[in-house]
Symmetry: C2
Subunit: 141 residues, 2 copies
C-alpha cells in the first residue's frame, strides 16, 4: 500500500504574523501621541531589525474629552508591514508585525522588530500572539 | 469561603483581527498589480461596510523575472486598519482587517469588510483566521 502523506500547496504565501497588545505603558506619553516621532522610531526599528521599509504613513486622532488623541503609524515593508495603534487615555498600544517568507525566512527579524517596539513602550503587561499565515490548502498526493 | 472569579482588566484594548490568505485568485490580474485601482476599491469597501477611512497608502513593487510586481494597499481606519498584499506571480493575496472595539463593537462591520474584499479576488482557496486582540491581563478580584 502506498502511503499518502499530506503536503502543502506550493502556491500559498506562507508568513508569520506577530501581535502584541500592550497595557500600562510607562514610556513618556509623547510616544503615544506624536505621530511623527513614533513613525521615525518605527522606521529606525525596522532598519535595526534587518527588515526593509518601502513606505510609511501616520495619522493623528483629535483630542477628546478624556485627553489627547492616539495615533496610528504604519511602515510598509518589502517583507509585508508593521502597524501600531495607540490609546493614550488607556496607556494602551497594539502592535502588528507581519512578514511573508517568500524567497527567505524573515521570522527571526520579525521577532527582533516586535521585541524592539514592545520594549520601547515599557508596558506593564503584553498580550503577545503569533499567527502562521498562508497555511495553504492541505493536499493529498 | 469567598469565591474569587476571574475578571479582565478594564485597561485592555479589546478588538477583532481577521485574516484571509488567498490562493488561485481568478479575478482580473490588474487587481493584483494596480495599486491605485486596488486602493480605491479598498476605500469603497470600507465605506460600504460601515467603517471609517481616515488615511490611505499604497506601494507598487517593481516587476521581476517572474512577471509584474505585487502591491501593498492599506487603509487606516478610525477603528484600526485594513491591509492587503498581493503576489501576482502566485495569484496570491493576503488580507488583514483589524478593528478595536473601544466605544462600540465593530465586529460585524469587520466581517462584512473582509467578506467584500475576499469575494472581489475570486480565490480558489481562502485560509481565514480570527484573532481576539487585547485579551487583557487575567486578574483575580
Amino acid at each position: 500500500m502506498q502511503l499518502r502523506l499530506p503536503t502543502f500547496s506550493t502556491f500559498c504565501m506562507q508568513g508569520l504574523h506577530l501581535t502584541a497588545d500592550l497595557n500600562g505603558c510607562q514610556c513618556d506619553g509623547v510616544w503615544l501621541t506624536d505621530a511623527v516621532l513614533l513613525l521615525a522610531h518605527c522606521v529606525q526599528a525596522v532598519q535595526t531589525s534587518g527588515l526593509q521599509a518601502v513606505s510609511q504613513l501616520a495619522h493623528s486622532f483629535p483630542a477628546h474629552g478624556h485627553g489627547p488623541g492616539g495615533v496610528t503609524a504604519t511602515v510598509l515593508l518589502a517583507e509585508s508591514h508593521l502597524c501600531i495603534h495607540t490609546w493614550p487615555e488607556l496607556q494602551a498600544v497594539t502592535v502588528d508585525v507581519y512578514v511573508c517568507n517568500f524567497g527567505a525566512d524573515h521570522s527571526a527579524k520579525a521577532h527582533a522588530l516586535i521585541d524592539l517596539i514592545v520594549a520601547h513602550f515599557l508596558p506593564q503587561h503584553a498580550d503577545r500572539q503569533m499567527l502562521l499565515r498562508g497555511r495553504g490548502e492541505l493536499l493529498l498526493n
